[in-house]
Point group: C2
Chain length 208, copies 2
DNA sequence: TTTTTATCGACAGACAGTCGGTCTATATTG
DNA sequence: CAATATAGACCGACTGTCTGTCGATAAAAA
């Protein structure tokens, strides 16, 4: 019945995560959440100051999970630069730890605000991580660009919108057709020979 | 008192436009709208089936205005390719006709859903228009890329997020510093010599 | 014992959308 | 031409839902 604040907080967050994923933020009422957790109205508002506060806390969690894993991989200099880039990008998709795919939850309709906030986390958090790897690559003579950060920003911004189900109206086939073009463009941006980044296409095995 | 359906509809849309711009979509109640228009609740719902329906109609309007102007300019083959690109991009910002800057309204906080819907219109509508111009440029030997469409898509996706006030947390100075890097990257994407697109920097006189 | 922390649930206020009905201009008919 | 029917625009009270508040209460800590 009575629990530590942090435990309750996480219980609420877990339920909110599930419900927002199913019905979206607007489609989920605070009642839905507190009933499923099994607490009273006042208790919910004892732990969170508003419904949006719940979402922000949830995003904070995602943030830590998603970017934390990415950072870890990026810092592991024992992995070759090429391979590390791939692993960082792929780590964005499947994390969560419990099998649930975070990104799947986000790309639901009716979650505009959440979607926007996550996008913001990614567009601000991911380029710095990737840029570090690219810098190493430049030192090793693998890449060649005077603006590694802006390159990464462009690439992240692009994948985040075009490979986002509810942003661009294209079929899966059309989206698949975008990939070689994307790789080609990335090659130009990073100043490498055409075709030399083809191996990166395996990143697109799943979603993003 | 009694008016043609289309007239009323536009009256409501005008007020909604103003109010959404001031207080955001969520911050504006249907009461706010109908009071300012001077009609009863039922009347509002006689013309629109829901609050979101009002927003969709508003976006439809923007869509027509924004992309319509862009299309017009893009089709005017008497303007040289280089100049035409600049004009198309600049037309996105100031249109509206009555001095109000559409884009300013959109980049308000609390408008996540609207923001997303407009982004969608742009990311789907603008690249085809620009691609046509780029194709001309390729024929004229100005540009060189096998993937003009995807190039434009990338550029539009990038400018739409990075030069969007509430998406990337940077100061105006930092944002200004992004511009030369952006131009450099565009030059690479379009396969032109470094420095040859510098003249395009004048596009960034105002906002986007 | 006193204070702090977690919990409860009734309540207020706001808001989106509904519905039955009204009013008026225009068309139809006797 | 006058009586009447029709349809389109409009009204406003009402419903149900939802978020956030508050004072009371119980349990644990100090």
């Amino acid at each position: 019945m009575r629990k530590e604040a942090m435990e309750r907080r996480n219980e609420i967050l877990d339920v909110a995560d599930e419900l927002f994923g199913q019905k979206g933020f607007d489609g989920t009422s605070t009642n839905d959440i507190l009933e499923k957790v099994g607490i009273a109205r006042g208790t919910l508002y004892y732990h969170f100051k508003s419904k949006e506060d719940i979402m922000d806390a949830l995003i904070e969690r995602y943030n830590a999970q998603i970017l934390g894993t990415a950072k870890e991989i990026a810092a592991n200099k024992s992995i070759p630069v090429n391979e590390r880039i791939i692993r960082v990008v792929m780590s964005l998709n499947i994390s969560d730890g419990n099998g649930k795919e975070i990104m799947d939850h986000i790309h639901k309709p009716q979650n505009a605000l959440m979607h926007q906030k996550i996008q913001k986390v990614i567009i601000n958090g991911l380029p710095p991580i990737l840029t570090e790897i690219i810098r190493e690559g430049i030192e090793q003579g693998l890449f060649n660009t005077p603006y590694p950060y802006e390159c990464m920003e462009m690439i992240v911004a692009y994948t985040n919108t075009v490979f986002d189900d509810d942003m661009v109206d294209i079929t899966d086939e059309e989206r698949a057709a975008r990939i070689p073009a994307f790789v080609f463009n990335v090659e130009r941006l990073l100043g490498v020979e055409s075709g030399s980044l083809m191996y990166m296409m395996k990143m697109f095995g799943n979603g993003d």
